[in-house]
């Protein structure tokens, strides 16, 4: 199908976009890369009366080092994140994660800001954002505020970004020197979405795990930190991985659909959690 009728507006700056958002209220949707929104519009699942295109706002697509932190503009495409030198050197797992999103066309157009704001339960970034303890900066007419990564994902396709706010930056501290990180996923063969995806960042003390951070996507209606697994590993050696990973789906209401039953998803989560921790640990320096 083609989309229902809408008015197209091109914002020249964030300020411009914010005033248009205020003007049109919830009849408007922001358009970044369009790879989540446009397919929904073509199927008429989303029918915004006004589209505010922020895709040409130049300063939002930069990736740069800002003091101790890597600052990724909301409009950076997945291809940008994958190939950025700063990301490859200091946030290698994020580059790995971006490289596994969708396909080449999606990676060349889709943006990190759009993907995070859309909060698809099977998206890849959320797992990495949680494991890396990223911070998200949003701007509104009343100013800017920072949302901690762990507070961003609220429910199915629902984030804590309020109406009238635009996600402008993702700020992440570099992966600590000596830490190991990995992102592994079970790829849905047609769409490339993560039926389950696990991001792991681990630091070792000798042969034992010191700090473990795990982000899991695809399993539940929203991505989450697998804190039960993290605490089961603290202070233990690599032989504890299997039993710790068995708690990956504990207490989680797993999704069930035509791609995978809830039981299969839970099992995938346990298997991929173990594999991601193993891979991250093998990359860590003790």
């Amino acid at each position: 199908m083609y989309p229902a009728s809408f008015e197209y507006h091109r914002a020249a700056s964030i300020k411009d976009a914010l005033s248009m958002l205020k003007q049109f209220g919830d009849e408007a949707k922001l358009l970044a890369g369009g790879h989540s929104l446009i397919p929904m519009m073509k199927l008429r699942l989303a029918q915004p009366a006004h589209l505010i295109d922020i895709g040409s706002i130049k300063d939002l697509s930069m990736i740069r080092e800002d003091g101790a932190v890597i600052d990724i503009g909301g409009l950076a495409t997945h291809a940008d994140v994958e190939s950025s030198t700063a990301v490859k050197q200091k946030l290698a797992m994020l580059s790995e994660c971006a490289a596994l999103i969708g396909d080449v066309q999606v990676r060349n157009r889709g943006t990190i800001g759009g993907s995070l704001a859309h909060a698809d339960p099977a998206a890849d970034y959320p797992a990495a954002i949680l494991a890396l303890e990223a911070e998200i900066k949003v701007e509104s007419e009343s100013g800017a505020r920072t949302i901690k990564g762990e507070d961003l994902f609220v429910d199915l396709m629902t984030t804590s970004i309020r109406s009238g706010e635009i996600l402008t930056h993702v700020r992440i501290a570099p992966i600590p020197a000596g830490a190991g990180a990995a992102y592994l996923k079970y790829r849905q063969p047609a769409s490339g979405f993560a039926t389950v995806g696990v991001a792991a960042v681990v630091t070792m003390k000798g042969n034992n795990f010191d700090k473990v951070r795990l982000g899991v996507t695809g399993l539940a209606a929203k991505a989450f930190r697998a804190k039960a697994v993290e605490s089961a590993l603290s202070g233990k050696g690599r032989d504890a991985i299997a039993s710790a990973a068995s708690h990956a789906a504990d207490g989680i209401d797993a999704m069930s659909d035509i791609h995978a039953s809830a039981e299969f998803r839970a099992e995938l989560a346990r298997v991929y959690t173990a594999r991601a921790i193993e891979l991250a640990a093998s990359r860590a320096k003790s």
């Binding site: 929904m40 199927l43 008429r44 915004p48 859309h118 099977a122």
Partner: protein
């Protein structure tokens, strides 16, 4: 798609039964519901604005309650249509008294969803339904608590009025 679950509500079974049979109060609990009109005995019609993030749609439908066994059980059948698809469902609702102010609501049913919504959104239908059921029960719990407070306030006024009458009559007798 099978839906089943249990939920505790903080009110007596009679209060919960009363709520689940009152179209005016029910319409306020259903997320996005504007109004439930009475079409016939135990038959209601209305429109719901369903919205999860950008996915929004208006559905108009009919709800029918059958096999009523007050205050513990009824069967619901649902038939809704919108531009993005249709929803058809049938299920049962059972209320179990757990205490003077606690009722366990057990629901079980089968829902069929079709049209573009199904073709494209199938992988999220179950999560979306769970989210809406969660919102419904949270609103039901809040409504039951507010309703109880309203009743206590009304009882308080009545009791105080009665006590005042008794005092007046007693004072009349004292004088003589």
């Amino acid at each position: 798609m099978k839906i089943a679950g249990e939920q505790n509500l903080s009110a007596s079974r009679d209060s919960v039964w009363e709520l689940f049979n009152d179209p005016d109060r029910l319409s306020r609990l259903i997320p996005g519901c504007e109004k439930l009109e009475v079409l016939g005995p135990d038959e209601y019609g209305g429109t719901i604005n369903v919205g999860i993030a950008a996915v929004k749609g208006v559905y108009s439908g009919k709800l029918k309650l059958e096999d009523k066994r007050a205050p513990e059980h009824y069967k619901i059948s649902l038939d809704g249509k919108g531009k993005q698809g249709f929803i058809k469902g049938a299920g049962t609702l059972d209320l179990e008294a757990k205490g003077a102010n606690e009722t366990l609501v057990k629901y079980a049913g089968d829902v069929q969803i079709g049209g573009p919504l199904m073709q494209v959104g199938q992988r999220m239908i179950e999560s979306a339904s769970k989210m809406m059921l969660g919102q419904f029960f949270a609103a039901a719990d809040a409504e039951l608590k507010a309703h109880a407070v309203g009743q206590v306030a009304r009882q308080g006024i009545f009791v105080n009025f009665w006590r005042w009458i008794v005092r007046v009559i007693a004072s009349l007798f004292k004088r003589s």
